[in-house]
Symmetry: C2
Subunit: 375 residues, 2 copies
DNA sequence: CTGAAAGCGCTTACAG
DNA sequence: CTGAAAGCGCTTACAG
């Protein structure tokens, strides 16, 4: 019976009406609690008629399973926890969506928890996941020091998406190949005719380090070692703005900028505009991540795209597989990024007037509106 | 004792080592389970020495409370569920951060769950929250029909942030005043000298409806009823692009566009550029929401800012208050939005050459770089 | 200040 | 195919 809508509003945390339990269902269906549990759980050997009666009774009572009781009784939760480090980073939404979809497909629940600037809060959130006894954790970034990482993964398997992590037991990583991605960016710029290509970097994280390395290696490979210029930046709009302002103010400024991520690239775009320069006429700009934002028509940012959907899906698949007892497999998986050429890259202004057009090498995708080159 | 790191990797969902329970702590500290529970829960009348011994034992054992058992024993979870409808909408991150911070301050846990395009998935996620027996729900948007909404809120109090909801018991809403916000936008444009101001709308949602109403009312108030033009759009980049393309292609196109949200405004910016027009030289554009994205230096979008932080904080405060037994109070709270003037609005090109500068009326904030007007 | 006991709502062998 | 019983890890009156 549904609670009377006209009952005086109750106060405090106690539920209005005691919720029905399997005991109530059992009484109504005239069977034992055990059978109710079996039927609700979809166990095979319950007589069809009995099962239906139980299901009907549950329906009529408005029964809703109590996850806590279930977890306690079954000794497992079938839920995986997702830790999100930076909700403002546009890649988070795509990753999370993919993770959730795959987990659902495999019949695991997910609960997400978000960190913020505060490192202590991050640990508290992770701790919360463990108190809920999630069976595994997927981290969309994190900033735990090595020691703490081990403490957590000792209790439940985890996969971190984004950066590679090696040597931590029960921790696997799922990332794109940042070195190769950086190379894609440099190759594209070089194919367009650029030589003075600078990199606005992201600081000390593993991801930033790999993109920086990839940039350096690619420059050397193209015989452009003398033009290697790494400018301090960050993964934010502000960082990109500052980095670009600085490098563009120097003598003999670069004709192209490879930026550590899309968000920072936005800041770079602004810095370029603020100096009265045109993109891509005077300076080409290329970001990293392949966020939706980069593809927004007002931006048209050329970028190195991570296979976000695949990263999320595979991370979840990997974790669920582990939980089902599949063998661990390789601790690190690295997917291949692709280049998405849009409107912020073009041949440098004052050279190769009849030079090579937009480079479209292997793995190159063009999207996001016509590639109108202002030059 | 920590598990030996060299033990053969266990398989399957069963935890490596049985986690310590309060019973283990009791044994180690030489007291009863009850006392352990009391001490861990911070109960006042436990002898200081005993308490310390218990805490030490817990520490040494690497004890971690089991949320499920706690919930079952205490008949409450002290957790509130947050439902997120659209992770891609930039306002979500700000709102979520504020909600979480306030909940933590009041000693409530939060768990978040995200919906996606699929309406069935949305219900499943909400259902999941209820299975976890969250004590309250905060919804960052939703698309449940009225009936379903009641079914959920009958079980636990909820506050939806964003749109106003009236007449649903136990459901309160926390929103910004969209009508007033739309008016702010129109007033600003009118103060700049615009008359042909069109609105790119957001469709059939309550939020879109209120912003549309506010626009119409403000236009009438300024004696510009004849110029009222509402163009079909949506809350996305694409919607804005299409709407703007359409209205700009007409004869006697508007000199200013008030767009339903920041994301759609980006599309509008692109559409304007694609027609070879300049912003704000030929067309002024103003968005809504006050997202970080709008403030990104590469964009500099003028926008009506919702007090996102306050919305999130107050929603959480309201809900927690309810849970602590505070009286319900008003079912709808509407906060006042403010205007943030940046670089996409300016006086119309061909009139008032020496007209009024950027209007800075009441409640106007200027931010995000110098307000360089291209005109 | 402390302990024994009951109970929360489920699941899962174990017997029929 | 079905039921009685034990147990999961906590909390909370209720007695000392």
């Amino acid at each position: 019976m549904p609670p009377a809508a006209t009952a005086p509003a109750p106060r405090g945390p106690t539920p209005k009406t005691p919720r029905p339990t399997i005991r109530d269902i059992a009484a109504r269906a005239g069977v034992s609690k055990s059978l109710v549990s079996l039927a609700l759980g979809g166990a095979p050997r319950v007589a069809p008629g009995t099962r239906q009666a139980i299901l009907d009774a549950a329906e009529e009572l408005g029964y809703r399973r109590n996850a806590a009781a279930q977890a306690l009784g079954a000794h497992r939760t079938r839920t995986i926890g997702v830790f999100v480090l930076d909700l403002h980073n546009p890649i988070t939404a795509d990753l999370l969506q993919a993770v959730q979809a795959e987990a659902r497909r495999r019949d695991y629940r997910t609960i997400v928890v978000v960190g913020d600037e505060d490192a202590a809060a991050e640990r508290a959130e992770l701790e919360k996941l463990l108190e809920f006894r999630v069976e595994g954790i997927i981290a969309l970034g994190h900033r735990l020091p090595d020691g703490a990482r081990e403490a957590f993964t000792a209790d439940c398997p985890a996969v971190v998406i984004g950066s590679q992590q090696e040597g931590v037991p029960h921790l696997v990583s799922m990332s794109n190949d940042d070195v190769a991605g950086a190379s894609l960016a440099v190759d594209h710029l070089v194919a367009l005719g650029h030589e003075r290509i600078a990199h606005i970097d992201g600081g000390s994280s593993a991801v930033a380090r790999d993109r920086r390395r990839g940039y350096r290696a690619a420059m050397r490979r193209h015989g452009l070692a003398e033009h290697i210029t790494v400018v301090k930046g960050s993964f934010t709009d502000e960082g990109g703005y500052r980095g670009a302002s600085q490098v563009l103010a120097g003598s003999d400024p670069p004709t192209a900028l490879f930026v550590v991520n899309d968000l920072a690239a936005l800041g770079v775009l602004a810095a370029v505009a603020d100096r009265g320069l045109a993109v891509p006429g005077d300076v080409s700009v290329i970001g990293y991540d392949g966020t939706r934002m980069a593809g927004l028509r007002a931006l048209g940012l050329t970028t190195v795209a991570q296979p976000l959907d695949e990263l999320g899906t595979r991370a979840a698949a990997l974790l669920c597989g582990r939980l089902e007892g599949e063998p661990p497999g390789s601790p690190v998986t690295r997917l291949t990024p692709t280049l998405v050429v849009r409107r912020t890259t073009a041949p440098p202004a004052s050279r190769h007037p009849g030079g090579p057009g937009p480079g479209r090498g292997r793995g190159v995708t063009t999207s996001g509106g016509t590639a109108r080159l202002k030059a």
